[in-house]
């Protein structure tokens, strides 16, 4: 009774997840043959609302890759793995306030901004470093050209508005 209802609602949820995953996958399936380039898998997973770290992404890719990696990921392998990820609500996105606090950690003097050089140093030397392209991309939107600094609070607000 209650169990049946639970099972039904899980089945419905799974069916919807399947459709959502298929949609996201198909947009990157350029040749319409149910495969995507492995280099786009990260983008697909993130587009579905998950935020794995680069390390976690690496592991996920290993799960969906062929025995002998071909450079392509097949939908048949991707679907069950991704469904689990969504059902278990893994790799939840980072809330805005945590993000703000992270910037504040890098700005101990509480100036409200980071200099361009400081940001570059942290992003390309610490953690899971940015590539040059990623760094340039982030700077192009984040930097205030007059002061050559990043007012992170405004930046975060702007990005959040843009996403919503």
């Amino acid at each position: 009774m209650a169990d049946d209802r639970d099972r039904d609602s899980t089945e419905v949820a799974v069916a919807e997840f399947h459709k959502k995953i298929k949609e996201a996958f198909e947009v990157f399936d350029h040749e319409s043959n149910n495969t995507v380039d492995v280099r786009e898998v990260g983008t697909i997973i993130r587009s579905l609302g998950c935020c794995p770290s680069e390390g976690e992404l690496h592991d996920l890719i290993a799960e969906v890759e062929e025995e002998e990696p071909t450079g392509y990921i097949r939908f048949e392998k991707f679907l069950p793995v991704m469904t689990e990820v969504l059902l278990e609500r893994r790799y939840r996105p980072i809330p805005e306030d945590i993000l703000l606090r992270a910037f504040e950690v890098l700005d101990p003097a509480k100036q409200g901004f980071l200099s361009k050089d400081e940001l570059i140093k942290y992003m390309t030397e610490e953690g899971e470093p940015f590539s040059q392209e990623e760094m340039e991309e982030m700077l192009s939107a984040a930097i205030d050209p007059e002061s050559n600094s990043i007012h992170y609070k405004d930046y975060i607000t702007m990005m959040v508005i843009d996403e919503n």
Binding site: E16, E31, P93, L99, A102, M123, E137, M159
Partner: protein, 649 residues
């Protein structure tokens, strides 16, 4: 001791910094990925709608055939209509007939070409067009006549060779985007004996400088006929031009002589070669191939008989001969088309072969399937590519026809390359353009570019916002043009009449009615409102858009006219043989009757009559159809708001 604690603090500090960096990087990568996905989605929308439009070609083509077969229903005084629609191409008019009557006024300060043309004329044109000058109709016609003359000498396929010191450059669709052509010439040099080019079709339509591109390409061709190679694309077709903007551009820029230009252009198109073969290894054609592609046949056919994708060869059978004899005047009308015109048509097989070359697209799925998206040509798989390339001992196929985000794409195991040279094709920021340089024995090299209007490069998120809003607008216009059908489909599933549907139900109806294969779930947040249970308020999709009505009329009539406005545009243009922009009420009415019955549109005649009367603003019995169609446009309620919002950021 002092040292120990300070290094511990340092460690703790750097550990915090590490964690903070990780948080920011993680967040940024997620954000960046979603941005790229939104960009992809926008492109998918543009592409789906573009191809769905092309599918309309098939319907229109069927309509013309239908009209021809049903001409008996057209009133007696209308055989002229049929003649104009299906009349044979103008007799080979004398050049003097056209040019003799045109005078170039002294006040003309545009470029003046000198025949025989030399490379200085190429420079001259480029400089003039950079300053937005317009080439006088006299020169346009001269160039067109000369081009036709030279093209007539050329075989269906141009054979050319490269060498390590003489690479060839292949460019894809340009679609009237002059800036892209300028950029290519700037980066890659002007065409010359040592710098050969292949332009792989679709030079015109959509962009606003199709004429200028055509003039530069044709003049360059006349100066270097053995080093500048032109392939015909599916838009080098006078009927496609009627729908996709080139006809309009010509009539606008050349108010006096536009009609003459259109007539000659129609013929020039038919003489463009079908393809180019480089070093006997690389086949360059505009669209693609099918499993039945027969290059030997294609080498032999009389390519100039291929007038338009919308004019397939008419089957000649006994039935038709009967009709011919029964009706008096109509005989003459039909006679122009049928009698003695067996020789004016390609066979069905030949025609289909050419359509395949101009319209097909490669796909990953093996085999060969009708290209239902476009309504012509087919989808061909890697096995078809291998089969055909092997059959003719070729190594590679280079084609265009499809917009690619990076300007080019390689598929079918490296055997098929798509090259597309119109950057920002759908919208500013939508895609890069590219060209290929290659020579025998070396790997092809790709060069990409993107025209940007902004003096400083806008950050990615702004560019994505722009193309996303544009794509969503187009999608909403689609929705509103099918509003009645959509609501019917929604209501069928909404048993409780609650006004709500599940995501699955909504997505299903949208896909079915609109015929667009899009990621509806992901797009739903832009199109409709969802409640906290995840159910969709389906009427919310129509809230902030409506079709501006010229008069108070029944919703479905407005919708129908809006939906078919591109087709109606073509039909009007054909009826309006003197390109005056006006057609008579009689013609309008009889056209509508035929249109209605073929497209199975259920609109009361009286409503339509009333609408037509109102549109005859001068009350002189003629309708300015451009005004008529312009009156049906979609108003987006929040346009004003959107504009001011972007200023804030």
């Amino acid at each position: 001791m002092g040292c120990g604690t300070s290094s511990a603090t340092k460690d703790k500090k750097s550990e915090k910094a590490l964690k903070a960096a990780l948080v920011i990087q993680n967040w940024y990568r997620g954000y960046s990925a979603r941005l790229k996905t939104r960009q992809r989605y926008a492109l998918t929308i543009f592409q789906s709608i573009e191809y769905a439009d092309e599918q309309g070609q098939l319907q229109l083509s069927n309509f013309f055939s239908f009209m021809l077969e049903n001409y008996t229903n057209v009133p007696e005084k209308e055989p002229g209509l049929v003649t104009r629609l299906f009349g044979s191409s103008i007799q080979d008019k004398d050049r003097q007939d056209y040019l003799g009557l045109i005078e170039i006024p002294d006040s003309y300060c545009g470029p003046r070409l000198q025949f025989p043309l030399t490379f200085t004329d190429i420079d001259l044109l480029i400089e003039a067009f950079k300053q937005q000058q317009i080439l006088h109709a006299y020169y346009v016609l001269e160039v067109l006549f000369e081009t036709k003359k030279v093209l007539q000498q050329m075989p269906n396929f141009t054979h050319t060779n490269t060498s390590p010191s003489k690479e060839i450059t292949i460019c894809g669709d340009l679609h009237g985007k002059l800036d892209d052509l300028f950029l290519i010439f700037y980066k890659n040099g002007l065409p010359s004996v040592t710098n050969p080019y292949v332009f792989n079709g679709d030079f015109v339509d959509r962009g606003k400088n199709s004429m200028e591109i055509l003039m530069i390409l044709f003049v360059s061709f006349l100066v270097y006929p053995n080093d500048l190679h032109l392939n015909r694309g599916n838009h080098e077709d006078f009927m496609m031009n009627m729908r996709y903007g080139f006809t309009k551009e010509i009539l606008h820029k050349y108010k006096l002589h536009g009609k003459k230009i259109l007539q000659i252009l129609e013929e020039v198109y038919t003489w463009l070669p079908i393809g180019t073969i480089i070093d006997n290894e690389v086949l360059v054609i505009h669209g693609g191939i099918s499993e039945s592609t027969d290059l030997n046949l294609l080498h032999r056919i009389e390519r100039n008989k291929m007038r338009s994708v919308l004019m397939p060869p008419i089957p000649m059978d006994g039935d038709r001969a009967e009709k011919k004899n029964k009706l008096g005047t109509a005989t003459v009308a039909l006679g122009i088309r049928t009698s003695g015109s067996f020789s004016e048509q390609l066979t069905k097989q030949e025609w289909e072969q050419v359509i395949d070359i101009l319209w097909s697209d490669p796909r990953g799925k093996r085999g060969c399937y009708p290209n239902t998206n476009r309504g012509g040509g087919c989808y061909f798989g890697p096995d078809i590519t291998s089969k055909i390339l092997n059959k003719y001992q070729l190594k590679m196929l280079v084609r265009s026809h499809e917009c690619k985000p990076e300007g080019y794409e390689i598929c079918h195991d490296g055997k098929v390359i798509t090259v597309f040279s119109a950057s920002n094709y759908y919208e500013e920021g939508s895609n890069r353009g590219a060209y290929i340089r290659m020579s025998s024995g070396t790997t092809p090299r790709f060069f990409q570019y993107q025209i940007t209007k902004a003096t400083c490069f806008r950050p990615l998120y702004q560019r994505v916002n722009a193309i996303e809003s544009s794509a969503i607008r187009m999608l909403k216009e689609r929705m509103i043009s099918r509003k009645t059908d959509l609501i019917r489909a929604f209501q069928l599933q909404d048993r409780n009449k609650s006004g709500k549907l599940s995501m699955g139900q909504w997505a299903f109806s949208m896909e079915n009615v609109l015929g667009l294969n899009l990621p509806w779930r992901s797009l739903s947040s832009h199109l409709v409102t969802t409640d906290k249970d995840g159910n969709i308020d389906y009427m919310s999709g129509f809230q902030d858009v409506h079709i501006q009505k010229p008069v108070k009329e029944v919703q479905s009539l407005i919708e129908t006219v809006y939906r078919y406005r591109s087709d109606l545009q073509i039909i009007f243009n054909i009826i309006d043989s003197d390109h005056s922009g006006l057609i008579s009420m009689e013609e309008f009415r009889s056209m509508w009757k035929l249109f209605k019955s073929h497209y199975s549109v259920h609109i009361d005649d009286s409503q339509f009559d009333e609408l037509a009367e109102r549109m005859d603003l001068n009350k002189d019995g003629s309708i300015d159809f451009n005004e008529f169609l312009k009156a049906f446009y979609v108003v987006h309620k929040f346009d004003q708001l959107n504009k001011s919002d972007t200023k804030l950021i």
